[in-house]
């Protein structure tokens, strides 16, 4: 991958120029789907955009010292990591890529949640600290399933290139992996039933409690970009291999949209679980998926 394609992927498609409107669109779909399921009309189409501009135009909270600097830094770091993760997705055919970009993608996907944990602790608010602790516990639990699912798909193909994984034919191992990733997504995106870190009725907004104005706008944006990156990862794994670039892009958007609808429906239909129930759920899932995924990866390796 040369510099021009890398920049084009990061800034145009599937990077910022596509990802920011897509992030707003997905945030709207989430709210609208929940509203429709509850028998309401819901927010207008441009609502996440209005919210973003309004937050940008609000007063910037005064912050001082190293703690203040860090608090300013976390949302920016989260946005750039999520945007980088979207830019790495192999959406277009023959878009390039490099050996090991899967590992980079996983790291970038994990960075926003690390930033949330750090932000909660550096806000010094008791609610922020509780939220951060919950996020940390949750992240330890769901990441085992998430990483095992992806690693077993990668191990069966002897590669850490995203493009090679995206072109895989459908196999039982891949179906298993995609289901495991889908189970992890509600926790990764702080959706019901695993919306523990930002539970607004119990701990106000968790790690975000001290953020306001433009900083909060950046958090909203990073949340939206996480939506695009996480649903995009699943979409690239299950998308059929197409040679036409516009058809590939269209299929990618349609699949991402379907996954957003699925996740929002689950979020609207469920209530928040307790932290110990959530952790137990993920560790039990881990055992089943770990055995199944590793066993089938080994099986495929020996057969090949």
């Amino acid at each position: 991958m040369n510099l021009t394609t890398a920049l084009a992927r990061l800034l145009i498609f599937p990077g910022l120029l596509f990802a920011v409107p897509a992030a707003w669109f997905f945030l709207w779909v989430e709210r609208k789907a929940v509203a429709l399921m509850q028998g309401r009309i819901g927010p207008p189409f441009m609502q996440p955009f209005y919210d973003f501009i309004k937050l940008l135009s609000k007063q910037m909270p005064p912050r001082s010292g190293v703690g203040g600097l860090l608090m300013r830094l976390w949302p920016l770091l989260a946005v750039s990591a999520a945007a980088g993760a979207v830019g790495l997705l192999p959406v277009l055919p023959a878009s390039g890529g490099f050996q090991g970009d899967l590992i980079l993608l996983l790291a970038l996907l994990e960075l926003p949640s690390m930033c949330i944990i750090a932000a909660g602790f550096s806000s010094r608010s008791i609610f922020g600290e509780i939220g951060s602790a919950r996020e940390a516990v949750l992240s330890v639990s769901y990441n085992v399933v998430f990483l095992l699912a992806i690693i077993s798909i990668a191990a069966s193909q002897h590669t850490f290139r995203l493009e090679a994984l995206a072109q895989l034919p459908v196999s039982p191992l891949q179906v298993l992996g995609v289901i495991a990733i889908l189970v992890c997504l509600p926790a990764k995106l702080h959706l019901n039933p695993f919306s523990l870190p930002n539970a607004e009725q119990e701990i106000y907004s968790g790690p975000m409690v001290e953020y306001a104005g433009p900083e909060l706008a950046m958090w909203e944006l990073s949340h939206g970009l996480e939506w695009v990156a996480a649903t995009g990862l699943v979409a690239t794994l299950i998308a059929p291999h197409l040679t036409l670039w516009w058809l590939a892009a269209l299929v990618f958007v349609a699949l991402s949209f379907a996954i957003v609808l699925l996740l929002s429906t689950v979020a609207a239909a469920t209530a928040r679980l307790q932290i110990d129930t959530t952790v137990r759920f993920y560790w039990q899932c881990t055992l089943i998926f770990a055995v199944l995924a590793v066993a089938s990866a080994l099986f495929m390796r020996f057969r090949a």
């Binding site: 709210r31 009309i41 209005y50 501009i53 309004k54 609000k58 409690v209 953020y211």
Partner: protein
């Protein structure tokens, strides 16, 4: 720059985030405020979101006749909301202290302590009236920006209306500044 300002005002009007605070209310108005977010009234059509943290909010919704204990809390929370901000006093209690007038436990009405933009009278007010008050406050917020309010607005008693009708009413009636 002018275009950016216009966009900013438009977005402020379309995205009022609320923080709800109880200053010794009987819970009647609090229930009606939550009722205005339910499927029947659906204030989310106007972009309303009930936030957990006052830092995220634009509009501070206060219910109750302001007890001695609540005064400091109200001032703190008002300071925690970053500008531009507006205050909506929900119910007759924060406006006049209602039936608790002359009580020795009270330090009301609300506008003795913080500037109030919109009063929504009623005991309790209908959810329609609350939605109308919020829409009005959002209009004021967009027009005023960071300046302090000069004069409060009283929401008339509304019979029954949907969220969109409330917004249309708020837009049609002139905002007094």
């Amino acid at each position: 720059m002018k275009l950016w300002n216009r966009l900013m005002c438009y977005c402020r009007r379309r995205s009022p985030w609320l923080f709800h605070m109880n200053s010794g209310s009987c819970n009647g108005c609090d229930i009606e405020l939550v009722a205005s977010l339910t499927p029947r009234y659906d204030a989310e059509q106007l972009g309303v979101r009930l936030e957990g943290s006052p830092r995220h909010a634009d509009i501070l919704c206060i219910t109750g006749p302001v007890t001695h204990n609540a005064v400091e809390a109200i001032k703190t929370v008002y300071g925690q909301v970053y500008g531009p901000k507006a205050v909506v006093a929900i119910g007759s209690c924060p406006a006049t202290t209602n039936v608790f007038i002359d009580s020795r436990t009270l330090d009301g009405p609300l506008n003795r302590h913080i500037p109030v933009d919109v009063f929504v009278p009623g005991c309790p007010p209908r959810p329609d009236a609350i939605v109308l008050g919020i829409a009005k406050a959002a209009e004021i917020l967009a027009a005023r920006g960071n300046k302090l309010p000069v004069e409060s607005v009283m929401v008339p008693v509304v019979e029954s209306a949907t969220a969109c009708e409330c917004a249309a009413k708020a837009a049609a009636s002139e905002v007094q500044l």
